[in-house]
Symmetry: C2
Amino acid sequence: MTANIPDIVIGRLPVYLRALTRLAQEGQEVTSSHELGQRLGISSAQIRKDLSHFGGFGKQGTGYQIHYLIEQLQQVLKVNQEWEVVLVGAGDLGSALAHYRGFTERGFRIACVFDNSPTKIGKQVGGFAVMSLDNMQEIIRERAIKIAMIAVPAEKAQEVADRLIEAGVRAILNYAPMNLNVPTDVHVQYIDPVVQLQRMTYYLS
Amino acid sequence: MTANIPDIVIGRLPVYLRALTRLAQEGQEVTSSHELGQRLGISSAQIRKDLSHFGGFGKQGTGYQIHYLIEQLQQVLKVNQEWEVVLVGAGDLGSALAHYRGFTERGFRIACVFDNSPTKIGKQVGGFAVMSLDNMQEIIRERAIKIAMIAVPAEKAQEVADRLIEAGVRAILNYAPMNLNVPTDVHVQYIDPVVQLQRMTYYLS
């Protein structure tokens, strides 16, 4: 039922899930593609089409049951379970990520934080004792961890990615400002604030 | 010459610029759409097509002059100048952004950091004295600042955005995990690590 959903649709589902969760927190029980569209700046037709890939979520006129739709989206995205994530890099950004409280309630838990700096190893960062990169592959293998966040300098990122992938990681969120070369069965998403700023300045006068 | 470039193309240009800058740092002077494509995981045909929107950047067989192409892309994206950016929120994430050294060399400079917490106002964060939100609009107007980064909790983000926009901001990089309602002449980009993690778990087994 959820086979062959276009990647661009998959990319929008977490945004729908986030908006629906917020509506639920606000105490709402039912919503419409129109209301969701207004909140998200997406057309209601687009939303109906995206959700129709999973079938039977709502009918025009009666709206969507928010809690049911949240459960369905969590199931499709496989975040109805908790995924362990390793974080590599305990600098300013890594530290901010280690402190971030928003992962757990949305399906992710940082399992370990790694760094290769002797000044950082053993220190506490956001409740984690920073561990040496030398132990990383063993821990990833033992715990069968599939997801990593890379928050190391650009010149170290490819080497870190190679070691993560060798140990079994299949999804990487890369904060280092560079593109990674990875095998086709590994998924990478990028977060680079400058890339996102630069795509807006084009429109400024 | 640069009119009517599709937004999806604009979105890829900063990634090309980043890769080219890296090639230049590595001492290379000429590249090809093939080499760029390999580095970026994008087809060389796509790269040639994207760059053809600006005309005359390279010829098949002779390749692209890296420094020339960097200059052209910087000009198209308007990052051949330095943009002042205000940062709102001086928590863990805001602090990491205030410390980040990668903005300046790519066209952006944090001008001020704002927060509304009495425990933060006046404190130094990454070389900035945190200022009160009460002064924000005046400073944005005085300095004609067009760009802001929002790193406040989700429940405060819309109010902050409204005040930024009222003062003249036209581009917002929003780290708060929620969608913003903004007028059509305001551009917003979102950074939410969980959204990007959730779009990868779909593919994991």
